[in-house]
């Protein structure tokens, strides 16, 4: 079809549409109003079955027999918080686990995983190293044998370490291409002081990565791989007895390290300086990335339910105030939101959006107006009701897949919390009042002590930002280091 035919055909179809068929003419009185609701279903929490091997490995199983799939997560407490003076060591070591293990080199291992129709992912977060396995029921045992090789018999061959180190160095450079990633790295570097475990990038920087070698990786793993700190979470088409027997066979010989890594130290509370603006230059950028926040709250805080509900209303859902105003009313962005990173130590609170460059100052003003408004004026009864329902009923969809159940169970395990935390938090959310929500905002949302990071075209956006008078502005580079401003 040539161009003119394509458009002409469509125009003809449009012209041929008889006006009488317009939906406007239809009448529908019987169903014009919103229907009433039937009774709400109740969340039935999956039951967790537990066991423990003699070497300390904890086992948690949630049988789900609807589909012939099994998901397993082996979690070892520790993670990047134990990097010490080598940022990126835990994540790099975890990524190296499946680059050759047991009798298989990196290729043979990847090929075998693919042959089994399985997935095998190794990685680390701030608080744990994880080895995740997903497999059809019928190949799960073979897939778990590969996971055991990866955990107990990783090769860490010099050539493999060198290759993966090169890939990671290039990946770190590539982060500069993504303004959102740059904003995140600079934000963490500014919000948490040097020496705090969350200050450095999770994956390290160029210098710390260049210093990684096979001996260092081997040493870290020999001390981190401790069965007494490990939990094997398995969900799907299995029974506890099956998992226990399999774990005994595959992991029963796993011995505690001679000199285990120390338990992570609790750092001093991160300081909260008066609000300041950090500008990172991206000349010619079509948008500005805005990230605003401060150190947040520990997941173990008794105020967790109130903070969750407060944030749902502020920026934690599509209908939240920030998204509704910045996107649906103003059209400055494709999406705006806010959230707390829930970790054992207080993770960051972060409100963010990518906005049209010439709306950077206007957007920033709205963010701060909304932070103050929820503190000063609280929330409405309707917002409270909607936010509560969003969180409570939303939990019904959180346990649909084997991966979701394993994920929920795993992240609570890392926090040292049982799965029953979820229903008790939901019950607490049901009881919250508008006053509770306002108190949470006043206590945990402090716009006088926020760090603002903006990645954008400084020449265009700086005057407008400074005119808001939120705080002093300074220019930093992509690593958060000072540059002349």
């Amino acid at each position: 079809m040539n161009p003119s035919l394509h458009s002409v055909a469509a125009l003809l179809a449009l012209a041929a549409m008889p006006v009488a068929t317009l939906p406007l003419a239809a009448q529908r009185p019987a169903v014009a109003t919103r229907p009433t609701l039937g009774p709400a279903p109740r969340l039935v929490m999956p039951a967790v079955q537990k066991a423990r091997l003699a070497n300390g490995l904890a086992i948690e199983v949630v049988p789900m027999h609807e589909v012939p799939l099994v998901q397993a997560s082996l979690l070892i407490a520790g993670g990047a918080r134990l990097d010490g003076s080598h940022p990126g060591l835990a994540t790099f070591t975890a990524n190296m686990l499946d680059e050759g293990a047991g009798s298989r080199d990196a290729f043979a291992l990847a090929a075998e995983v693919a042959y089994l129709g399985a997935t095998l992912n190794t990685g680390a977060g701030w608080d744990a190293v994880t080895v995740d396995v997903g497999a059809p029921k019928r190949t799960f045992v073979q897939a778990m044998a590969l996971a055991a090789d990866v955990v107990l018999r990783p090769r860490f061959a010099t050539a493999d370490v060198a290759r993966q180190r090169g890939l990671r160095l290039a990946g770190i450079l590539q982060q500069r291409d993504q303004p959102g990633a740059v904003a995140g790295l600079v934000f963490n570097a500014m919000v948490f002081p040097a020496g705090h475990p969350y200050h450095a990038p999770l994956n390290g920087d160029s210098a710390s990565t260049a210093a990684l070698d096979s001996a260092g990786v081997r040493d870290f793993w020999s001390r981190a791989a401790d069965p007494r700190r490990a939990t094997l979470v398995v969900t799907g088409d299995v029974t506890l007895a099956e998992v226990r027997a399999l774990a005994e066979r595959l992991f029963g010989g796993w011995k505690a390290p001679a000199s285990p890594l120390p338990a992570p130290a609790t750092p001093a509370e991160a300081p909260r300086p008066a609000t300041r603006i950090i500008l990172v230059d991206k000349p010619g950028a079509a948008q500005s990335v805005i990230a605003i926040g401060a150190p947040g709250v520990s997941r173990r805080s008794p105020d967790y339910p109130a903070i969750m509900l407060m944030n749902t209303i502020l920026g934690g859902s599509f209908s939240s105030r920030l998204n509704d105003i910045l996107r649906e009313q103003k059209g400055y962005t494709y999406g705006a939101g806010s959230g707390y990173s829930w970790r054992p130590l207080p993770g960051p609170f972060n409100a963010s959006a990518q906005v049209r460059s010439n709306a950077t100052d206007s957007s920033l003003a709205i963010f701060f107006r909304e932070f103050r408004r929820i503190r000063d004026s609280g929330v409405t009864a309707t917002e409270l009701e909607r936010g509560r329902a969003y969180l409570v009923l939303g939990s019904l969809g959180d346990f649909e897949t084997t991966g979701q159940v394993a994920g929920s169970l795993g992240s609570l395990t890392i926090l040292g919390l049982p799965l029953t935390t979820i229903p008790s938090d939901l019950a607490a959310i049901q009881r919250l009042t508008t006053a509770d929500v306002q108190r949470a905002a006043q206590r945990y949302l402090d716009p006088a002590h926020f760090t603002v990071v903006i990645v954008g075209d400084i020449a265009k956006i700086r005057p407008g930002i400074e005119a808001l008078g939120l705080g002093p502005a300074e220019v930093r580079d992509y690593n958060g280091n000072e540059v002349g401003s």
Binding site: M1, P3, S7, L11, A13, M17, T21, P23, L24, A26, A30, V31, A32, R34, P35, L37, G38, P41, R42, E66, V67, P68, A106, F107, A110, A111, E112, A114, Y115, L116, G117, P136, R138, Q142, G166, A170, Q174, R176, Q178, Q287, F318, S319, R327, E328, Q329, K330, G331, T333, Y334, Q354, V355, R356, E385, R386, Y390, L393, L396, G397, E400, G403
Partner: protein, 476 residues
């Protein structure tokens, strides 16, 4: 109408509300010493039991019962995507999708999000070149409310239309374009590839996100015309999956959608094959650290008999760390940061794409030559039995994973209903994939890829055009 294949013929056990799995178990339990056999490679059959019916206004409906959780997914497809846009209005189908969340006659602006979020549910819509879908997942007692929401905007969107809403969502979509294309590394390259491969007259030439100038030009008349032409019940299909009873669903769907008038029938969609007479080579500069090479061949559309063999060819060549390109370029020679290959099939045309991200200092020209070498080797020597098994087992596992979620199942059922007129092609698809032979893989490689004209696009860091892949004197 009751689908004839819902009653068990395979004797497998029921799971997740009627998905039927028949295991060929003994063979797999013998793994890994026992290597691929015919049955091990095609070890299970899937069935998703579905009731289908059509309202008098032409709305096609499929209902799938799954009582494993108190949830229901509603998934509505309109058979219009960016491929049906008129010249000068690229991006309009997607912009229109945004307008569908701006309220309708009896639903206030933001009301769709309000109702669904109050239910703790999830909702969204998406637009591609061929269809626009809208979906919600909510507790099952919210089914009637969601049907009311969907019916109100199918029948009565224009009652609540305003210029201000259009202007607002036009801004939102322009921001979406900035965020995902203009301000994103390699973002504009994906648009350029479509422009190079498909002629201007082809439905897949322009990107679904559209061009800024065309978004600016979109008018209220465009909204009304598009709605009347395409958003009619006889150009839509609705799938409801979850904790529901089919008779009750039929009653509710009839109540809410039954009196929406039919519109003009949409013209049928037919494949529009693309051929290139010669290679087309281009270079783009971008704010990127690493140079990237993309090679794209025109191949076959969705449901073409050669689609699965091309998919397996792509899988062996460039899916995952055990693939040939990854092994050679990323692991052995270490000249690439990543390498991938795959067949992408859409209803009107398909393409085979190879993407290689070069390490710093590596030559795109050399990487291009090496990709051709690997293509030639796989086409000439054929895949190993082991490679075939990996591709098939991976496909089978992905199929099962997709059936884990109600939304995943509902969307797949709607795709079958739309493209094949029947809701359950799960088993047929798996069987077709499993029947592909190594000779088929070699044949499609020779028929469509090896020695065939294609697109070569280099994306290089700003100011470094010298890094672009140069035309070799001869290529296979």
């Amino acid at each position: 109408m009751r689908d004839g294949r819902t009653e068990g013929r395979m004797g497998g056990r029921m799971l997740r509300g009627g998905m039927r799995i028949v295991a060929c178990g003994a063979l797999f339990s013998a793994l890994p010493t026992f290597r691929p056999s015919a049955c091990a490679l095609h070890a299970q059959a899937l069935h998703v039991a579905t009731d289908t019916f059509t309202l008098s206004n032409g709305l096609k409906v499929a209902v799938h019962e799954d009582h494993s959780a108190p949830l229901v997914a509603v998934n509505l497809w309109y058979h219009v995507g960016s491929g049906r846009e008129v010249a000068g209005r690229s991006g309009f189908a997607h912009l229109f999708e945004h307008m569908m969340f701006q309220g309708s006659k009896d639903v206030e602006k933001g009301g769709h999000f309000g109702v669904v979020q109050e239910a703790g549910g999830t909702l969204n819509g998406s637009t591609n070149s061929d269809r626009t879908n809208y979906y919600e997942m909510v507790p099952s007692n919210y089914l009637e409310q969601v049907l009311w929401l969907e019916a109100d905007r199918m029948g009565y969107l224009l009652d609540a239309f305003s210029q201000a809403k259009l202007d607002n969502q036009r801004d939102v979509v322009k921001n979406e374009r900035r965020q995902n294309y203009e301000n994103a590394p390699y973002g504009l390259a994906s648009i350029r590839l479509g422009e190079m491969l498909y002629p201007e007259s082809h439905p897949y030439h322009a990107p679904t996100i559209g061009y800024q100038a065309d978004l600016t030009a979109a008018s209220p008349e465009d909204v009304a015309g598009f709605f009347r032409q395409w958003y009619v019940p006889n150009n839509a299909s609705l799938v409801i999956a979850g904790d529901v009873k089919p008779a009750e669903v039929r009653r509710l769907v009839t109540r809410y959608f039954g009196d929406i008038p039919a519109g003009q029938p949409a013209p049928a969609v037919k494949p529009i094959p693309v051929t290139l007479q010669a290679d087309r080579r281009d270079v783009m500069e971008d704010r990127v650290t690493l140079a990237r090479l993309s090679l794209v061949w025109p191949t076959v559309e969705r449901w073409n008999a050669d689609e699965d063999a091309l998919d397996i060819f792509g899988s062996i060549l460039g899916q995952g760390r055990s693939s040939r390109l990854y092994q050679r370029l990323v692991y052995r020679e270490q000249t690439a940061q990543s390498a991938s290959a795959g067949q992408g099939s859409r209803p009107q045309a398909g393409q085979f794409q190879v993407t290689v991200m070069a390490r710093e200092g590596a030559s795109l020209s050399q990487l291009e030559r090496e990709v051709y070498e690997e293509i030639a080797r796989l086409a000439d020597e054929g895949p190993t039995a082991e490679e075939m098994a990996r591709a098939r087992n991976g496909n089978e596992a992905r199929s099962v994973y997709q059936l884990q979620t109600l939304l995943g199942k509902a969307d797949r059922i709607n795709q079958y209903l739309t493209e094949r007129g029947t809701p359950d092609m799960f088993n047929e698809e798996l069987a077709h994939y499993a029947a592909v032979t190594p000779a088929d893989v070699q044949r499609v490689a020779r028929t469509y890829i090896r020695n065939h004209p294609h697109i070569i696009l280099s994306v290089v860091p700003n100011g470094h055009r010298e890094l672009a892949a140069q035309a070799p004197e001869v290529h296979p």
